[in-house]
């Protein structure tokens, strides 16, 4: 990693608390340019909350958060964000390219004028995520994997330096999972953009991830896969017996909640 570059994300002793409930306590993370970070942990561990913190949508209860050297703010075009959801159902029609187009200028007032430049920009992005084939199709008709590509394309349009992807691999079968992972890795390397990808399962990401941020029970730890996904580390994190089993080239976390 290029040490002279400013870190993309810095979290120092960050605590997030809602009322009496502490979601996260004492998070200390520094992420550099172009790093691929997987965020793992059980449901309710605060993974999405962390993303929202970086997006400036919630404020920390304690600690310092810096994104690209500054406090997080809403509408930061240096961050590309794809939340976990399926966009539309089949009824309400919107073309794939329209959805992607939101990422370009959906937040600007007025109606905008159609322009060749705009169309070209969107076409380029669609090619980058390999979605050109279904650019004109109604979004509701597309599969989960195809919609995920659109969401990633949308997030890329502002040329971000940080990409936040919330469970992009959820509900995808193996083939599409691999495609999305390959896509995100390609984007990470070619654009040198830092990626923070929330996932339930480390295995599809094993070949591409630089470090893992594991969150559970308000605690968190960050390090390489070998450092974090171990029985000792995870047991300490969960506060109960957790076994990490390696089999068939995959890691299985046994004993933890999902």
């Amino acid at each position: 990693m290029d040490e002279r570059q400013d870190p993309i994300v810095e979290l120092e002793h960050v605590r997030i608390q809602f009322g009496k409930r502490t979601i996260l306590d004492d998070v200390n993370v520094t992420i550099s340019e172009g790093e691929f970070i997987a965020i793992l942990g059980p449901n309710g561990a605060g993974k999405s909350t962390l993303l929202k913190l970086l997006l400036g949508l919630i404020k920390p209860s304690a600690g310092i958060v810096r994104v690209l050297g500054r406090p997080p703010r809403r509408g930061n075009s240096d961050i590309g964000y794809a939340p976990q959801h399926r966009i539309l159902e089949a009824d309400l029609a919107l073309r794939a390219r329209d959805v992607v187009g939101f990422g370009l200028d959906g937040h600007r007032w007025g109606t905008g004028f159609p322009s060749h430049k705009r169309k070209a920009t969107i076409d380029t992005i669609l090619r980058e995520v390999d979605a050109s084939a279904f650019a004109e199709a109604p979004v509701g008709q597309l599969s989960g994997g195809e919609q995920q590509r659109l969401l990633i394309a949308q997030a890329l349009l502002s040329n971000p330096r940080l990409l936040l992807l919330d469970e992009p691999l959820a509900n995808l079968d193996i083939i599409h999972e691999q495609e999305i992972v390959a896509l995100v890795q390609g984007i990470c390397r070619s654009r040198n953009v830092a990626v923070m990808l929330v996932s339930h399962d480390i295995n599809p990401l094993l070949p591409v991830v630089d470090r893992v941020l594991y969150m559970a029970h308000g605690q968190s730890t960050i390090g390489t896969t070998d450092e974090v996904i171990t029985s000792a580390t995870l047991s300490k994190l969960y506060g109960s017996q957790v076994e990490v089993v390696q089999a068939l080239g995959r890691l299985f976390v046994v004993g933890a909640e999902t």
Binding site: P83, L92, L94, D98, H107, Q141, L172
Partner: protein, 307 residues
């Protein structure tokens, strides 16, 4: 038949009706897309109750319309979150307002025809001054809608990303509802609460089913709305039946075949596109993905409801 056009009040009806139809079509599209169809029905009725109150107090009905509809719009904007809870909140707000409306009507000893006309609407009896006022306010509303167009569209289809991109999603939604309320207050005096709801929903409901691009959905909806209005006034002027009946019937008559036959058409086209694109092997993979998605939808529904 066509000699009705020589009458001033018919010309006025066409002019004012056209303005209302245009604004209603655009607003209706956003209402539908934002899941606010019920609010589109409730707000005019709430306005009616406000008008009853205004008449009771002896002031211009439009004041009552504005007070009630804007208050309700703000309440709906604040209260209504998940769509299923929102419909109930909207309905009960409407019930509350209409209960007050009945109170006002029963306390009012005068001629209530003016108030009922706000409910049922007579598009006749419009003065040229009304036309001018309607035209100007429609134009202003259109300008505001044009300014809000992109962020409103973005936040309607994808509020999470829109918010992350800096769109003031909640404030915008509230502003939109207040704009709807103001439009209702003006339009309902011309076309009545029932008919305004029809003009809001009917055109956009029909076009949104068959057209993909929002701008074209809106443009075609405007054209449909104007056609419905002109035909409706024309038939009503030549007969003795009310305008709102004609427009509602025409709107439904256009919608029904579209609704019944369009899923086959769109579904068929899209699937054809995808099959040629991906080849026969892909469809097997696709199915398992859809199953997974359905399973998630099912469990999503459970956890959404078990609160």
């Amino acid at each position: 038949m066509f000699d009705i056009f020589q009458y001033q009040f018919i010309q006025n009806a066409f002019a004012a009706g056209t303005c209302v139809a245009i604004v209603a079509a655009i607003m209706g599209y956003f209402l539908i897309v934002r899941g606010l169809t019920f609010a589109g029905h409730a707000l005019p009725n709430i306005g009616f109750a406000g008008a009853a109150g205004a008449v009771l107090l002896g002031v211009d009905p439009v004041i009552g319309l504005l007070v009630f509809t804007i208050s309700a719009a703000i309440a709906i904007g604040i209260l209504g979150k998940a769509m299923r809870e929102r419909d109930i909140a909207v309905g009960i707000i409407m019930t509350f307002a209409l209960g007050l409306g009945i109170l006002f009507l029963s306390l009012y000893s005068g001629y209530a025809e003016r108030v009922y006309s706000i409910l049922f609407g007579q598009i006749v009896g419009i003065s040229q001054q009304n036309v001018l006022f309607t035209a100007v306010s429609s134009l202003l509303t259109l300008v505001v809608l044009l300014i809000l167009y992109r962020p409103l569209l973005f936040s309607s289809f994808d509020p999470e990303v829109a918010e992350a991109r800096g769109v003031p999603v909640n404030a915008l939604g509230l502003a939109f509802l207040v704009l709807v309320a103001i439009t209702i207050s003006i339009a309902v005096q011309i076309v009545g609460a029932l008919l305004f709801f029809t003009l809001l929903i009917g055109p956009a409901a029909s076009t949104a089913r068959i057209i993909q691009r929002p701008l074209w959905v809106i443009l075609l909806a405007i054209i449909l709305g104007i056609c419905y209005t002109w035909l409706g006034i024309f038939f009503a002027a030549n007969g003795s039946w009310p305008v709102s009946f004609y427009i509602a019937t025409i709107s439904f008559a256009v919608y029904l075949p579209i609704r019944l036959f369009s899923p086959l058409w769109i579904g068929h086209r899209a699937r054809k596109n995808m099959a040629t694109r991906q080849g026969p092997l892909a469809s097997g993979v696709q199915n398992s993905e859809d199953e997974q998605n359905d399973a998630t939808k099912a469990s999503g529904r459970v956890s959404g409801i078990s609160r």
